[in-house]
């Protein structure tokens, strides 16, 4: 189709000079100008804060009133304090409970179960279930937090009425459990949709064979389903864990209390850095959070790449849209 010599130069001398691979004729200068605004914004508001955290974590920077003190370099002092700090150990442990309980166990198991039960049942019940789960996902987090505060209220809370446990102060007695259940409620939709898409790629003939062979549900899942969606399970687990680890919304429900019993790491950073004004100390914990994020994100990207490979190796394998969407 394309002629050996490009006619463009003769027809459109006014067009910008272009070089190899420049389909739009932008030229290097204009291309750079197009990329620059985005790059500057990312550099100033994303990359710079990250680098600054490295430095801040080694200072005793403090916030008192409206002014900030002169930062003084203290080396690894903050890190030594953090590692010996009981509040930090507690927040680490609570964060683990939060991530394992709500993301890994709660959302994954519930999300998969719903997707599995609903897999080939079109109809009003399925639409209702999926609609409600999605609605729980798209509502603003402040609203969701408030709904749960109202539900869990000691005196007027609907939960006590439904469970027949009048007078139970759930948020005071079991703050962490409340926060986990709350997060399962608001986050399950993502897993449900992702597994729904993944299950669509398990050949129906496999399920049929398992059924005819009299396999139990668990055997069917283990032998016919899980091996085919292992990539989806792994990537969504890592992604949801990353989100949950960085979630601040539990603060809206319990503010870390009572007595710090639901103070996960994000809330702990907030309290020490901006509540108590210990900016340097807070930055040190932030850096620990960033390092944990880095590990999860690298594992995630690796799992995603492996899944991409498996897909090219096996045509008609996994679903592309979900993978790409999840990457963003």
């Amino acid at each position: 189709m394309a002629p050996p010599t490009s006619p463009r130069a003769d027809l459109a001398p006014a067009a910008a000079p272009f070089f190899e691979g420049d389909a739009a004729g932008l030229g290097r200068g204009r291309a750079a100008a197009f990329v620059a605004p985005a790059l500057v914004l990312v550099a100033v508001f994303l990359v710079f804060p990250a680098l600054w955290t490295l430095y801040l974590g080694t200072t005793d920077y403090r916030l008192t009133g409206v002014a900030a003190s002169e930062p003084r370099f203290v080396g690894t002092d903050n890190y030594r304090t953090v590692l010996g700090d009981g509040d930090f150990h507690r927040s680490l442990w609570l964060t683990l409970q939060f991530v394992l309980g709500s993301a890994v166990i709660g959302q994954t198991v519930l999300g998969f179960s719903i997707a599995w039960v609903m897999r080939d049942r079109p109809g009003p019940v399925r639409r209702l279930v999926e609609g409600l789960v999605l609605l729980a996902w798209i509502l603003p987090s402040s609203v969701i937090a408030f709904l749960w505060i109202a539900l869990l209220d000691r005196d007027g809370g609907t939960l006590n009425a439904v469970l027949g446990t009048p007078g139970t102060a759930w948020l005071l007695d079991h703050p962490m459990a409340c926060v986990v259940v709350f997060n399962v409620w608001r986050g399950t939709a993502f897993s449900m949709m992702l597994y729904g898409a993944a299950l669509g790629n398990v050949p129906p003939s496999h399920l049929e064979t398992a059924r005819l062979a009299g396999a139990s549900t668990w055997q069917t899942l283990r032998d016919a389903v899980f091996p085919r969606i292992r990539g989806h399970l792994l990537t969504s687990l890592l992604l949801v864990s990353l989100w949950t680890f960085n979630d601040f919304t539990p603060f809206l429900i319990t503010a870390g209390g009572p007595d710090g019993r639901s103070e996960i790491m994000s809330v702990y950073v907030y309290r020490t850095a901006l509540g108590d004004g210990r900016l340097g100390f807070g930055a040190a914990i932030s850096l620990i959070m960033i390092l944990i994020n880095l590990v999860i994100a690298l594992l995630y990207l690796r799992a995603l790449r492996d899944r991409g490979r498996a897909r090219t190796a096996e045509p008609g394998g996994a679903e592309a849209g979900a993978a790409r969407g999840a990457a963003a």
Binding site: G25, L26, V44, V129, L139, V143, W243, L279, N293, A297
Partner: protein, 275 residues
């Protein structure tokens, strides 16, 4: 015989599971649907007593409607900035072969997933402090834009990559400048991508609590997500009629947006639209 018993148990188990899931997810949502119209929200035992009085109270609150306006400003401002800068960058990155481009995108995406609002709250706060962006809506918009841009560029580059370059080449043959090509040829073609990124950005900003909470001091500037937490009665209890009514009003736009998107484009994953 054994088979039928097993089948029956399976069906019962299924029904119990579905009912439990329905109950779990419906309960808070029913509360959201009914409490605003209830004269006594919170007292679960009583049947709702229908009233529109709560909406009148909401209108009288000096901060409620202003905070919704602030939410609109933040969401629209961020979406405009994200869509403009991301589409320029994505277009150039898609059409011009820059050395190290893929590495750059990969690193940006990695950075945006590890430098989250919570992990970077200290430097972001200090940055805003030093740039005199504390208590400025622009500050919130800039910070949010910085965090959302990598994913937005990534998404839009995908859309741009998928469109053939032949239209642009044809336009250039007729002497169109690159900006004209972008405006009249490229933008119309990648419009679904722009809409996706805009909706995704609005959804992210609309529900965001942390950044406005950190960076804004004056309640006049606070968006809905933050102002909800100032609604207390004189007795120090959460003002349930006010908060529930406000919650409903504050939720409606995202629900409508979601319905619109799912009707128009079919609901698919684009960057986990929520978070």
């Amino acid at each position: 015989m054994n088979g039928t018993v097993r089948e029956l148990l399976r069906r019962i188990g299924l029904a119990v599971f579905v009912s439990a899931v329905l109950g779990f997810f419906a309960l808070p949502l029913l509360w959201l649907a009914f409490a605003p119209f209830d004269a006594n929200p919170g007292i679960s035992a009583s049947l709702p007593e229908f009233t529109l009085h709560n909406f009148r109270v909401l209108l009288d609150n000096p901060y409620a409607l202003a905070s919704l306006r602030n939410s609109v400003l933040l969401a629209a401002g961020t979406a405009a900035l994200v869509v403009t800068t991301a589409s320029l960058a994505a277009y150039a990155l898609s059409r011009v072969r820059v050395p190290g481009r893929d590495l750059l995108l990969y690193v940006l995406l990695l950075l945006s997933s590890i430098i989250t609002g919570t992990a970077a709250m200290v430097p972001v706060f200090l940055l805003a402090f030093n740039l005199h962006l504390i208590d400025s809506r622009l500050g919130v918009i800039l910070v949010l834009t910085g965090g959302l841009l990598p994913a937005a560029i990534f998404l839009l580059k995908d859309f741009t990559d998928a469109t053939p370059t032949s239209y642009e080449e044809a336009a250039r043959v007729f002497g169109a400048s690159p900006l004209q090509v972008l405006r009249h040829v490229v933008l119309p073609v990648i419009r679904p991508g722009l809409a996706t990124v805009a909706v995704w950005t609005v959804a992210q900003v609309w529900g965001d609590f942390l950044m406005p909470f950190l960076l804004l001091r004056n309640p006049d500037k606070a968006p809905a997500s933050v102002i909800m937490y100032t609604f207390y009665t004189e007795g120090g209890q959460p003002d349930l009629p006010l908060i529930s009514t406000f919650s409903l009003l504050y939720s409606l736009p995202v629900v409508l947006m979601y319905l619109f998107v799912s009707r128009r484009y079919g609901f698919r994953f684009h960057g986990g639209i929520k978070r």
